[in-house]
């Protein structure tokens, strides 16, 4: 077991610099950053993978990549102001630097999705890590069968990627449905829980489903999918945990015997449905 090899390993905790090319305010709480590696190298990753993003003095947080790897010169992350690090990052300006490690984790297994009908169910900020997959599918639409996207937020002000939404609403590449739990005076779309959207279209039993959102949403969405008869190994969930080290050591993201950072954050539902701590 022991016998260290006599190689000079890199210090896995040292981040590298990434420069902020563009910042968009996507909602009151979230900002959408477009980044480029400071050494101009390409960011190679799979949709669903995440980065450890840090600012010295503030700390480090795991953030899902929000753009498709098919877009070569830059990559996107969305930061929601929730804690110390995210608050500090959301005060940065274009041209400032961030420090990143990764990509880490298991993303969406594209080979298990290709040539099937796809349904993405995104709740709240859950749209960020799935945006990477959504963009990928849109860019290579011919590799997949039908593509349906459900997006639900608490209220209209919580909606992210407003430009994308405009595009998705009228695109013939995606069958897009959205809802809000509570409307405001400007909202003209549907009101209700995300599960209501299942009534608007028919989902085939062979569909591969990706779910990402708050823990409470999972149970209800899975209930609907069970009614359709979708096998649990065809359902993929993206779990949010405290992935502190991202390399399967620090223990914070452990779900029973799995590490969200190594074994996930994207899991096949069949692999975790027996894990009590998963939901």
């Amino acid at each position: 077991m022991t016998a260290f090899e006599n190689k000079k390993a890199e210090n896995i905790f040292l981040p590298r610099e990434a420069v902020i090319l563009n910042i968009k305010e996507t909602s009151q709480l979230e900002k959408h950053f477009t980044l480029r590696n400071a050494d101009a190298s390409k960011m190679i990753f799979e949709p669903g993978q995440f980065l450890e993003v840090s600012l010295f003095g503030y700390g480090e947080i795991p953030i899902g990549l929000a753009s498709s790897p098919t877009r070569e010169n830059s990559f996107d992350i969305v930061i929601r102001t929730v804690g110390r690090v995210s608050t500090a990052i959301n005060q940065l300006k274009e041209g400032d630097s961030l420090y990143i490690r990764g990509p880490y984790g298991n993303g969406f297994k594209l080979e298990q999705l290709r040539s099937y009908p796809i349904l993405v169910v995104a709740g709240g900020v859950g749209v960020c890590p799935t945006r990477s997959l959504i963009q990928y599918i849109m860019d290579r639409r011919e590799e997949f069968k039908s593509f349906t996207l459900f997006y639900g937020t608490r209220d209209p002000s919580q909606q992210l990627f407003l430009e994308d939404l405009k595009q998705w609403r009228c695109s013939d590449k995606v069958e897009y449905y959205e809802t809000v739990d509570k409307a405001d005076e400007h909202w003209e779309g549907p009101v209700g829980l995300i599960t209501e959207l299942f009534k608007k279209t028919s989902i085939a039993a062979e569909t591969r489903v990706i779910i990402c959102g708050p823990p409470i949403m999972f149970k209800f969405v899975i209930y609907e999918l069970d009614k359709i008869g979708i096998a649990h190994n065809h359902i993929f969930v993206d779990l949010e945990r405290r992935m502190k080290c991202a390399i399967g050591k620090c223990g914070h993201c452990q779900i029973n015997n799995k590490y969200a950072c190594l074994d996930g954050p994207v899991f096949a539902l069949s692999d975790i449905s027996n894990l009590e701590e998963a939901f």
Partner: protein, 359 residues
């Protein structure tokens, strides 16, 4: 490799010569109050060395994985790692702790190697020593006993209960070049077959002398504990007096969880990223913050955390390690103020409950 003998009268010289050349971390008396307490410290001279210690408060892993470790220093937008390992000797480590170090060696290298650990580990010559005094809560005789202690570079056994004609001293086995290097510090003789046999019998016979015993196989325990996962009443009962204080984790030789925090120096420009030993028994360990000041705790109750700890020690890592992630040192049992952390009591209770259920 080779087996040597050093006379009792030459032993102090061996230690002092070694100290002239290398830093040596070894068990010393930490304090004497109601009883004696020991800790691994940088040795100043041979007088301090207490190879007759029963147990140390913290396990020796601190020599490569300290409770607080600066991993990055930053200043004015620049940053660098801090790894700066120097050759050292960690001497007097009991076999159960050697097993634990073997586990952390594996865990810090699998998938991604963490040189903040391995650099210090590689720079260390690890010398095991036989157990002369048995800690009152030890149960290493009946847990993770299927795997041998390994990963150490040399093994020191004090030969006792000898005939009058025999010379008092230590048997010194060296397993590799690192262990071999230590020979230059002392007057070592080739060990006789009799001395080798005596050491063997000393190290064999002590295995049955632990004050506490678990009479189950590893698989029996793992299967039954795993099946008890949803017995909430049982876990509630076991965790009733738990303070979530983390003492069981922070004294455990196989625990390796950590947290990382940044801080600034007084100049407000430079600072450091520090990692700290963390404990899955503390309340906020699995907590994440979401928006609006809300948070989600994935192991909210003490019972859920207690269960996670026992699962990690007895079930989750078994396949990976080939043994339980518990070596039976009994430190958690001693450290727990409410005296509810003792794995022996917990496992016995779970096994009993399962036996009753199946009646």
């Amino acid at each position: 490799m080779n087996t040597y003998f050093i006379k009792e009268s030459d032993f102090n010289n061996f230690i002092d010569n070694m100290l002239l050349q290398l830093p040596v971390i070894a068990p010393v008396l930490s304090s004497e109050s109601v009883e004696s307490f020991f800790s691994f410290e940088f040795l100043k001279n041979h007088d301090e060395l207490r190879l007759d210690y029963d147990i140390t408060i913290l396990p020796p892993k601190k020599a490569f994985f300290p409770p607080r470790q600066v991993i990055i220093e930053f200043s004015h937008g620049k940053f660098h790692g801090t790894v700066n390992a120097k050759k050292q000797v960690l001497l007097g480590v009991h076999p159960y702790d050697i097993k634990a170090i073997d586990q952390t060696d594996f865990l810090f290298t699998e998938n991604y190697e963490d040189i903040n650990y391995t650099a210090y580990r590689n720079a260390t010559t690890l010398v095991c020593s036989n157990i002369q005094t048995i800690s009152k809560r030890a149960f290493w005789g009946s847990i993770s006993h299927d795997v041998p202690a390994r990963g150490h570079d040399a093994f020191l056994t004090k030969l006792t209960d000898l005939n009058e004609a025999e010379e008092e001293g230590y048997l010194f086995e060296v397993f590799n070049e690192k262990g071999h290097e230590l020979l230059s510090f002392g007057q070592f003789l080739l060990a006789t077959e009799l001395q080798i046999q005596q050491a063997k019998s000393i190290n064999e016979s002590i295995k049955d002398k632990c004050p506490q015993q678990l009479n189950y196989s590893q698989d029996e325990m793992a299967n039954t504990i795993c099946r008890s996962f949803n017995n909430t009443a049982l876990w509630d009962e076991l965790a009733q007096d738990c303070f979530s204080c983390g003492s069981c984790n922070t004294t455990c030789p196989t625990c390796y969880c950590f947290n990382v925090e940044d801080s600034w120096n007084i100049d407000q420009q430079s600072g450091q990223r520090t990692r700290y030993w963390d404990s899955c028994m503390t309340e906020d360990f699995a907590k994440i913050s979401s928006a609006d000041g809300q948070s989600e705790n994935f192991r909210k109750t003490t019972a859920a955390r207690m269960r996670h700890r026992i699962m990690r020690k007895m079930v989750y890592l078994n396949d990976k390690l080939g043994t339980q992630a518990c070596v039976g040192c009994g430190r958690c049992s001693i450290a727990c103020t409410a005296d509810i952390a003792d794995p022996v009591n917990i496992i016995k209770r779970i096994m009993e409950e399962a036996a009753n259920d199946s009646l």
